[in-house]
């Protein structure tokens, strides 16, 4: 029963990348100089250790070696032999990045650039040397009381390792452990096969051998203990220092049967590994296998982890659906009009079941935004250091859930917004002090759920947008007309205009690559909108609103000259009949309706879409008041039809993007209905006015 180990590689990568995230978060939480928080370091250490173990199993030697160095350094920190300095944390953070690249390279099967790895390995090694030097300088450091006094300096370790029979059941493998030991120095291993039963009684998954090992290397005892850290309780273990004397004695005396490490019980170890892998596979679910096809080019987001409760909820609902179905088919078998009530009841139930099921299936695709937010602490840490600013990042609501597709699309825009806040928004410490603000600037990142949409806010307490500079720039570029009054929103809107920058100089951090126009178009691509609020000297707050899901929306059907269009229900404020005399033409251009005392621009859909045969008399049709991006507009339609949930289909797949149209859907009668893109329509109308 040969198992293709390759099918688990994907799992290894996924888990390793998660592990790296854990390490990164842990490292950022470490406060240099403060008393070492053991639990934090342990978390980082465990993550590193898993990566090391996994990479060893799959044969990514460079990853194993690299992680090993990191582990040694972390171990030094854990033991208190090495201080948690800013430098050490930075080197480790750099190493996490490097490791990530190495793993990506391993996954994509592309070569890695050795320079960076070597440079980091060098830095790690230097830190370790410093540690050694420190240890020698202060031999009686209280932090390491278990260390034998340096006088009895050991030349190696003698390890008696007698595993319990079920050692390999827990997924441990002596061969791997020995390999790790061998990485520390020359290792000889002598197996003791006394426990080995007759072949007929031999259980292939049990470990019958025990070993006596000799490690001829001047390593700390912890390094040896680490190797056995995961089998504690599963074995009898004794580790004794090998003094120079005893070592020589050993070397003189011909060893009884020195065995090289590699061939140690290959059969049993293979079996043990299989057991481990089977276990993992059960955990990893079979979906991974299905994903592998698409995964050959491997993107890191081809699978999602779904909480078992979500899956259970769907299974429950499917059960209910089946009950309803059997109820209906029983009704259908001999139906008479007397049972009409029952039929209606069953149909209502079916309706409820399908809606519930749809909602829960959608929920499977939902991920917490923390998967995007988690990269920001690191980014803020790096960028603020580069800019010489002191920044505190406050994250709220990271458990808010969003559709996976949306999550993937908002990462880059958020990076851009936060970089902007860091670079342009927050002032340098001196300037902040002069302005009477605390030295440390605050960037806040909030996610919350409100009335069917998800809101993400990026705020800072910096200098705010420079209204005058924007106004000047807008006039220069001819985007604004001189002599007219503009609201703050209209002026802030200018920052989304491509090619308009008020930054005096471009910096390394922002001002390159994507601009705010790209940010906005990315957000609009996923059906979201973006708004800015800013107060000079107080800060800027950018609010992104996103739809909960991309696949389904509640729509209001409207008719325009025989065609049916769908307006997303969420953007509708209300629908009104137009009274004669309430409409004015502004400067002979756009029509404006006085709506609750406010002027509301009217957009005649039939004109925009070139529809023939539509109602053109304003009093005979209806005005649907819609809102997007904080602005309102009245869409003039013939009539309202029903409301219905529609599944959004792409026009682009076979055709192309159509301005003013967000997508299409199949209506109840099989025809295609177009879904209006409200914020697109408002923009078009704004250009027109």
């Amino acid at each position: 029963m040969a198992i293709d180990i390759g099918q688990f590689v994907q799992t290894f990568f996924e888990e390793s990348f998660e592990g790296l995230d854990v390490m990164e978060a842990g490292l950022l939480a470490l406060e240099p100089g403060a008393t070492t928080d053991l639990e934090k370091i342990n978390t980082i250490f465990r993550a590193a250790h898993s990566i090391k173990g996994g990479s060893g199993t799959f044969g990514f030697k460079n990853v194993t070696d690299f992680t090993h160095l990191m582990e040694t350094l972390l171990d030094g920190m854990r033991e208190g032999r090495l201080g948690v300095t800013g430098e050490a944390v930075n080197v480790l953070l750099g190493s996490v990045d490097c490791l990530r690249e190495m793993l990506v390279a391993a996954r994509e099967n592309i070569p890695v650039e050795p320079e960076q790895i070597q440079a980091l390995q060098g830095r790690l090694a230097r830190l370790l040397k410093k540690e050694a030097a420190e240890a020698e300088a202060a031999p009686n450091k209280p932090a390491a009381p278990v260390e034998p006094p340096p006088a009895a300096r050991t030349t190696g370790w003698r390890i008696r390792f007698k595993p319990h029979l079920q050692l390999m059941h827990s997924g441990n493998d002596p061969v791997r452990m020995f390999r790790e030991l061998a990485a520390l120095g020359p290792l000889t291993a002598r197996p003791d096969s006394a426990r080995l039963p007759r072949l007929a009684e031999l259980q292939p998954e049990d470990c019958y051998l025990s070993w006596e090992l000799e490690l001829l290397a001047e390593v700390a005892r912890d390094a040896v203990d680490d190797v056995f850290a995961w089998v504690e309780g599963d074995c009898e273990l004794s580790v004794e220092p090998l003094t120079a004397e005893s070592a020589t004695e050993k070397t003189v005396k011909p060893a009884a049967e020195p065995l090289v490490v590699a061939p140690a019980a290959p059969k049993t170890s293979e079996e043990g590994r299989q057991g481990e892998l089977l276990l993992e596979r059960r955990k990893g679910e079979d979906r991974r296998r299905g994903d592998r096809r698409v995964n050959v080019a491997a993107s890191d987001s081809a699978s999602i982890r779904v909480g078992i409760d979500k899956v259970d909820a769907v299974i429950n609902l499917v059960g209910e659906l089946i009950t309803t179905q059997s109820m209906l088919s029983a009704l259908g078998e001999d139906f008479d009009m007397g049972r009409l009530d029952k039929l209606h009841e069953a149909l209502d139930q079916l309706d409820r079941n399908t809606r519930d099921l749809q909602e829960h299936v959608m929920r499977i695709r939902m991920l917490p935004v923390s998967s995007v937010f988690s990269r920001f602490p690191r980014m803020v840490h790096d960028v603020s250091a580069k800019l010489g600013k002191q920044v505190e990042l406050r994250i709220n609501g990271e458990q808010t859930e969003l559709d996976k597709t949306v999550i993937e699309k908002i990462g880059d825009p958020l990076v851009h917004l936060i970089r902007n806040s860091l670079d342009h928004g927050l002032e340098p410490p001196e300037e902040r002090l002069r302005a009477g603000k605390p030295e440390t600037g605050v960037i806040s990142l909030d996610a919350y759920h409100k009335s069917g949409s998800i809101f993400i806010e990026v705020g800072d307490d910096g200098r705010g947008l420079n209204r005058d500079a924007l106004l000047r720039k807008g006039l220069e570029e001819g985007l604004l007309k001189p002599g007219e009054d503009y609201s703050d929103e209209q002026i802030y809107e200018l920052i989304f205009h491509p090619g308009l920058s008020t930054a005096k100089q471009l910096s390394d951090v922002s001002g390159r690559g994507v601009g705010m126009d790209v940010v906005r178009s990315n957000i609009q691509d996923v059906g979201g909108s973006i708004q800015i609020a800013s107060q000079p000297g107080r800060g800027t707050r950018i609010t992104i609103s996103l739809p909960l899901t991309l696949a389904i929306l509640d729509g209001q059907l409207v008719s325009v000259g025989g065609d049916c269009y769908i307006i997303p229900l969420l953007s509708i404020i209300e629908s009104v009949q137009i009274k004669a005399g309430a409409v004015n033409r502004v400067a002979g251009k756009g029509e404006v309706f006085r709506f609750r005392g406010q002027p509301l621009p009217i957009l005649r859909l039939y004109e925009l879409f070139g529809t023939e045969g539509a109602v053109s008399d304003l009093e005979k049709g209806l005005l649907v008041v819609v809102e997007a991006d904080g602005r309102q507009i009245g869409l003039f339609v013939d009539d309202l039809e029903g409301q219905q949930q529609v599944s959004i289909k792409s026009l682009e797949k076979n055709f192309r993007r159509v301005s003013g149209v967000a997508g299409a859907t199949i209506l109840g009668d099989g025809r295609v209905g177009l879904i209006l893109d409200i914020s697109g329509l408002i923009r078009v109308n704004n250009v027109a006015l």
């Binding site: 076979n654 055709f655 295609v672 250009v687």
Partner: protein, 185 residues
């Protein structure tokens, strides 16, 4: 859904829809358009449907009649007469939509084309195909991959990948109506 199965049935009964293509043998579905015969590679053809009203798409060129629902997919429908700048006619009972799969830079797309009627399936050898004559700039022949002479006359073989490339079709549009509207209003 009035897919006109009759045509397919007749074609089938004549044994014409059987894929008998040999190594160098090609099969082309021919259709009539304004009195001329055209052919498309049968491997590009997904299905043939009767004309049914479609949903108009705003701001599209006139030859895009709209979009239709093809078993849940949104498929644009293009009137080939208008695409070739021919006079448009009332759609009749024989007006059909040939649904073809088009390869483009951005992947494959499904597009419906309205033609006057389906005629036949031609079995051809590569050697039968003559290159399209060069008419200079007076006639656009870039969509025609070749000509074939049959008993009844001439059949123009269309390169649907080029003819129905969305990029190509919209390159023709210098001003998009929506922006024109915006500018005018």
């Amino acid at each position: 859904m009035d897919v006109r199965k009759t045509e397919l049935a007749t074609l089938g009964s004549r044994g014409l829809l059987k894929r008998e293509a040999t190594a160098e043998g090609l099969q082309y579905l021919t259709f009539s358009l304004a009195g001329e015969e055209y052919g498309v590679d049968i491997l590009k053809v997904q299905e043939i449907r009767g004309w049914a009203p479609v949903t108009k798409v705003p701001n599209a060129p006139a030859f895009v009649r709209g979009v239709m629902n093809l078993r849940g997919a949104i498929v644009p429908v293009i009137d080939l007469r208008l695409r070739f700048n021919l006079e448009s006619v009332e759609y009749t009972k024989t007006t059909v939509v040939i649904v073809v799969t088009v390869q483009s830079a951005s992947g494959s797309r499904i597009i419906g084309t309205v033609v006057d009627g389906v005629s036949d399936v031609l079995n051809l050898n590569v050697a039968d195909i003559q290159p399209a004559p060069d008419f200079g700039t007076a006639v656009h022949t870039e969509f025609i991959s070749g000509l074939v002479t049959v008993e009844a006359g001439m059949v123009m073989l269309l390169d649907v990948d080029r003819l129905l490339s969305v990029e190509e079709m919209f390159a023709l549009e210098s001003v998009r109506p929506m922006e024109a509207h915006a500018a005018a209003a």
